[in-house]
């Protein structure tokens, strides 16, 4: 029983991290059809900002957490302004290539001004402790991660349903031009999407830093690749799909690791992606395809 609870928490926290990042990708994609592969570099930017702030300003982890989130929001909004605004309205491939370009440029900047080797930044490591709940020993980081993600999803739902900008974002996912015809400024909606995406990246960055205790130029790329797969499974552009895909992927990954014999541990990823492929044969548009969700009568 203990083992089951520990592994469930493990799966949930994996899923939570994927869901946070996948949501960041999905909210931008749903509005402007851009697969933002530079999202991982936004996370890395948060990590490097933490190193700089930790060296120059303070070691107070709570101040640093705010700083990391602020840095990620700034980076995300700045990337939109500098790189993605110019290709707005271009086709999917142009946006994708731009995002890859931005990603490569940023990784190289981190290499140049940082270091190819990991730089230690251990201020958040205190989040990861083993705590005992009754007889069960669990990782505190996993609990924080799961709870924070659930709170972030609730806050996002509230924002999208209750505020004018949030409603405009949902409407823009369906018909951006019509939203503009209602007098809503396109730049505001898109900047809002990038700001939320950056905020989610900031949260993910905190947890990644708590686990790794160091930054590296490529630290954001792998999580974003996994989050991309989560988006595909859930249905690209669907926000509930991104969350569902993220958690499904986390759960599958942990389940595969448990079920596979120790000697076949290396095959875990292969098995996970084989399952992903099966899901896509069953549902080529992902589990919650956006077209279905939008409830078009056509």
């Amino acid at each position: 029983m203990d083992y089951f609870i520990q592994q469930s928490l493990n799966a949930l926290s994996f899923g939570a991290e994927y869901a946070l990042i996948a949501l960041g990708l999905a909210i931008v994609f749903s509005i402007m059809g851009l697969v933002n592969f530079a999202h991982g570099e936004v996370i890395a930017f948060g990590g490097y900002s933490m190193v700089i702030m930790g060296t120059l300003l303070t070691n107070n982890p709570f101040v640093l957490m705010v700083g990391v989130v602020a840095a990620c929001v700034f980076a995300s909004v700045a990337l939109e302004r500098v790189a993605f605004r110019t290709v707005r309205g271009a086709d999917l491939t142009t946006g994708l290539l731009t995002a890859f370009g931005v990603s490569i440029i940023l990784q190289n900047l981190f290499l140049l001004f940082g270091s190819p080797r990991p730089i230690a930044a251990t201020q958040f490591i205190f989040l990861d402790r083993t705590i005992a709940i009754g007889s069960i020993r669990v990782s505190s980081l996993q609990i924080y991660e799961t709870v924070t993600t659930l709170l972030a999803i609730l806050a996002l739902m509230f924002f999208l349903r209750r505020t004018t900008l949030g409603m405009a974002m949902r409407a823009a996912a369906l018909d951006f031009e019509m939203v503009r015809l209602c007098g809503v400024r396109a730049n505001r909606v898109i900047a809002g999407a990038f700001a939320i995406s950056g905020l989610l990246a900031g949260l993910a960055c905190i947890f990644i830093m708590a686990r790794r205790g160091s930054v590296q130029p490529h630290m954001g790329f792998d999580p974003v690749l996994v989050a991309f797969v989560a988006c595909v499974i859930g249905g690209f552009g669907s926000l509930p799909g991104a969350v569902l895909g993220g958690f499904l992927l986390g759960i599958t990954e942990v389940a595969v690791l448990i079920l596979l014999p120790q000697s076949a541990g290396g095959l875990a990823h292969a098995v996970v992606f084989a399952l992903v492929a099966l899901v896509l044969i069953w549902r080529p548009d992902g589990i919650l395809s956006p077209a279905r969700e939008k409830g078009d009568k056509i």
Binding site: M167, M178, G183, K294, G295
Partner: protein, 235 residues
């Protein structure tokens, strides 16, 4: 009020409208009639800024041609577009809130939404329902209400009766007549010539991207002699 001159509208490299002049005075309802493909919707798209155009578009003397889509709406151009384009993934009430999204007087906006719900009780009953579940006629009413909630100077209506049952069409034209009596300036694009002429002060007939005829609505009678021009069939 709205002065359009030498308007050419382009879809890519194709010129859909070849330099037309249209003018709408304050409080007037003006109809733009013509067969399919005559350039009616293109003209409206040029006015709202969603299609590329040359020539001049002036609202209350102010040049609109360089403004973005959203700025034109903020200056007072609202549209109930072809196909209605309601936000089917939002509730009926949220669709209306989107119509007034740029307004700052939230209390007044909410009370106006309340008035619309009184006028169209069916929308009121379904305020919390997803707009995609409404019938065509209800969606049309919602699209008109959404456009008017931005408090426009001029309302553009693109084929409001398209695809609706005859009783609903009658109801839509009743609404248009009522809006006109409230002093709202309207530019109406329609296929239903007789009904459109009935509510209009002035009529333009558009054919192949050019204005083939224009005049006071009274000159057009009940529109029966327009059959040739409107179907594009020349007997």
């Amino acid at each position: 009020m709205l002065e359009i001159s030498q308007l050419k509208v382009f879809h890519g490299v194709i010129e859909a409208v070849h330099g037309i002049d249209v003018s709408v005075s304050e409080g007037q309802c003006v109809s733009l009639l013509g067969p399919n493909g005559a350039g009616k919707t293109s003209t409206l798209s040029a006015i709202t800024g969603t299609a590329k155009s040359t020539g001049s578009i002036r609202l209350l003397g102010e040049d609109m041609t360089r403004l973005s889509i959203e700025e034109r709406c903020r200056k007072g151009i609202a549209i109930s577009p072809e196909g209605r384009r309601i936000f089917s993934n939002l509730t009926v009430r949220d669709n209306m809130l989107m119509g007034g999204a740029m307004r700052r007087d939230r209390a007044a906006l909410l009370s106006e939404i309340g008035e619309w719900f009184e006028r169209f009780p069916i929308l009121g009953e379904r305020a919390g329902q997803m707009a995609g579940t409404l019938s065509g006629g209800e969606q049309q009413m919602l699209a008109i209400a959404r456009a008017l909630l931005s408090r426009p100077r001029i309302l553009l209506l693109d084929e409001p009766s398209l695809g609706l049952a005859p009783q609903i069409v009658a109801k839509i034209f009743e609404i248009i007549r009522e809006l006109k009596s409230r002093g709202i300036t309207i530019l109406l694009v329609e296929q239903n010539a007789a009904a459109a002429i009935g509510v209009s002060d002035k009529v333009y007939i558009l054919n192949n991207g050019r204005i083939s005829r224009q005049g006071a609505a009274a000159e057009f009678g009940d529109g029966s002699d327009l059959m040739d021009e409107l179907t594009g069939v020349h007997s």
